[in-house]
């Protein structure tokens, strides 16, 4: 299925990547090409085939739900582009 300009714009919005209006047309073409390549999968019969969720047939390990570390505020904030008073700082979210 071909991806039109509107769909390309919607995908870019969902992905939170700002794409200038003038580039949406060529993006749509590019994405269409790749999605076209994926269409080959349509010819493959998958009746009664389970989707793979784990490549190794082992169960995920479990552990007790206990807190065993923490109190690392300084380390966590050390790479933040903007932090204030022990918090990450971002543009105003609530009016």
């Amino acid at each position: 299925m071909a991806i039109d300009k509107d769909t390309a714009g919607r995908v870019a919005r969902l992905a939170r990547i700002s794409i200038p209006e003038t580039e949406l047309e060529s993006l749509a073409l590019e994405l269409s090409d790749i999605v076209g390549f994926m269409e080959q999968l349509n010819e493959c019969d998958v009746t009664n085939i389970e989707p793979m969720t784990s490549v190794t047939p082992t169960l995920l390990k479990q552990r007790m739900d206990l807190i065993d570390d923490g109190d690392q505020q300084k380390m966590i904030l050390s790479n933040a582009p903007d932090s204030r008073e022990g918090f990450f700082a971002v543009p105003k979210v609530v009016e």
């Binding site: 700002s18 090409d33 390549f37 994926m38």
Partner: protein, 495 residues
């Protein structure tokens, strides 16, 4: 030998043990080679202070008689591994200036063994690429040059810096990661050895995530013996990675007996592609003959769903990437776009991600977003997961029939010129992974061994695919192949 940095891990280990060399001497030789090889652009960061201090400690440890195999061995680390206090940015502008507060499990395992860090290695941005051209640091140049032209060639990708650094003897070995062929394809393009272990063999903790169900780290080395030594050091059970296996890590080097009598080697019919070069086809038959001469039984096998591997991969890998890369939003680390006064938080995200991610990464995030979006999830993502089950079943069946390993070419061509793919559509670049992606989709171990030189003087590789958790036997078969092929060429130094 012109330079100490040309040593293999096993040679250096033996010399260190016999006190013929110190780690400091090997490390200084590597640092000098790095210094005079900047044109290759293999390293993104050089860490001489860490290297020299680790080398001195290693020498003390060797003197005290406590020396694991990797002790005192200088290596390079792909920029995808978090290294405490050392710039780690997955070759992306969006992680500008990121200095992790923690160490990846793989690198910690290597330092615990006494290995020495020379620096970080260039790669494709977020490991997305097959030519090392999507890096924010610029492309890596392959130390190998064609005999007919001086055009700079790609070292392959995404572990292109690792492959180039090993091939050019800037380090004794390097770490790589492999999501669809990112260890094996660059190994093939540079005449080096690279192994992707079984999914779960090596911890993913602290390795910047691309596609979590496919990503595995592995060593890139100058010999199969070195790959065995270094893989053993990297592998471990890790409670910080829920997919890391608690199977014991065997002594891989001890598995190199050189005996493969009676082992069954499969040749998959579906890997004979239209338009495959005659040279590669010939090399493939030579490899099979050599294994036969060593006592193996060579049989034809069928992997009927092979042709769907690339479309499956290019649904699943971008889908997982779009989710993994959602964390780069300009809040916690890395780049944040300069905002206008009234810009809201959504604009901060969108502008930051538009500025921070390169074109290929953006493309893959958007493809991933599309296949996961409402209305398309079942048609693409779910469907691809189902076909993935079939691809794995193909391999299960072959191994159930008694086949021990599968022999294939690693790549459909030798290294191509930098820039060549720019004019082509992304799918042509994706075709580079055609022989390697199946292995990731099935979670199997795969190794590329340098096999020969093509008509233009460029190296080519053969790939062996093994049974899950059977890296020991796989390495042994690769060891036999390596001995029979006698590949010993090195790139002619022009840099």
């Amino acid at each position: 030998m012109e330079s100490i940095s040309q040593l293999t891990i096993s040679e250096a280990r033996d010399k260190l043990k016999k006190k013929e060399l110190t780690s400091l001497e090997i490390t200084q030789s590597c640092l000098k080679s790095i210094e005079t090889s900047k044109i290759l652009n293999a390293f993104s960061v050089i860490t001489p202070e860490i290297a020299l201090s680790q080398a001195k400690n290693a020498d003390k440890r060797i003197a005290s008689g406590d020396a694991p195999a990797m002790c005192g061995i200088p290596i390079g680390i792909k920029d995808l591994f978090c290294t405490k206090g050392v710039q780690t940015q997955a070759a992306s502008h969006i992680l500008d200036g990121f200095k992790p507060e923690y160490e990846s499990t793989v690198t910690q395992n290597l330092w615990d063994e006494g290995a020495v860090m020379l620096g970080k290695l260039n790669m494709d941005e977020f490991a997305m690429g097959s030519s090392n051209e999507t890096s924010t640091y610029g492309a890596v140049i392959n130390p190998w040059r064609s005999s007919v032209s001086e055009v700079p060639l790609t070292p392959g990708g995404s572990s292109g810096g690792s492959a180039a650094a090993v091939a050019a003897d800037l380090c004794l070995a390097a770490t790589g990661t492999d999501t669809g062929g990112s260890i094996r394809q660059p190994a093939a393009f540079t005449g080096t050895v690279g192994i992707k272990p079984t999914y779960g063999r090596v911890s993913r903790w602290g390795v910047v995530a691309f596609a979590s169900s496919l990503d595995q780290a592995g060593p890139m080395t100058k010999s199969v013996r070195d790959a065995s030594i270094m893989l053993e050091a990297m592998a471990s059970h890790d409670r910080k990675d829920s997919t890391s296996s608690n199977f014991p890590v065997p002594n891989f080097e001890a598995a190199l007996t050189g005996d493969i009598k009676g082992k069954k080697i499969g040749i998959p019919n579906e890997y004979r592609m239209d338009g495959m070069s005659e040279e590669i086809e010939k090399l493939w038959s030579i490899g099979a003959e050599m294994l036969r001469d060593s006592g193996a039984i060579v049989v034809d096998v069928n992997l009927p769903h092979t042709k769907y591997a690339l479309p499956v991969y290019y649904v699943l890998a971008p889908a997982e990437a779009s989710s993994n890369l959602a964390r780069y939003d300009g809040v916690r680390y890395g780049h944040r776009a300069k905002l206008k006064v009234n810009d809201n938080i959504d604009e901060m995200y969108s502008k930051t991600r538009a500025e921070g991610f390169g074109k290929e990464v953006q493309r893959r995030i958007m493809i991933g977003t599309y296949v996961l979006s409402a209305g398309f999830y079942d048609a693409y993502y779910r469907k691809a997961q189902r076909v993935r089950t079939l691809i794995k079943r193909d391999f299960d069946k072959v191994f159930d029939d008694g086949v021990d390993a599968i022999l294939t070419p690693t790549t459909p061509s030798s290294a191509f010129p930098l820039g060549e793919m720019n004019s082509k559509n992304p799918i042509e670049m994706y075709l580079n992974d055609i022989f390697t992606v199946t292995v990731n989709l099935a979670g199997l171990p795969g190794i590329s061994v340098p096999a020969g030189i093509d008509v233009d003087g460029m190296p080519l590789g053969l790939q062996l695919i093994g049974k899950p958790w059977d890296e020991g036997e796989l390495l042994n078969t690769a060891f036999v192949l390596e001995k029979a092929l006698k590949f010993s060429d090195k790139p002619k130094k022009w840099w």
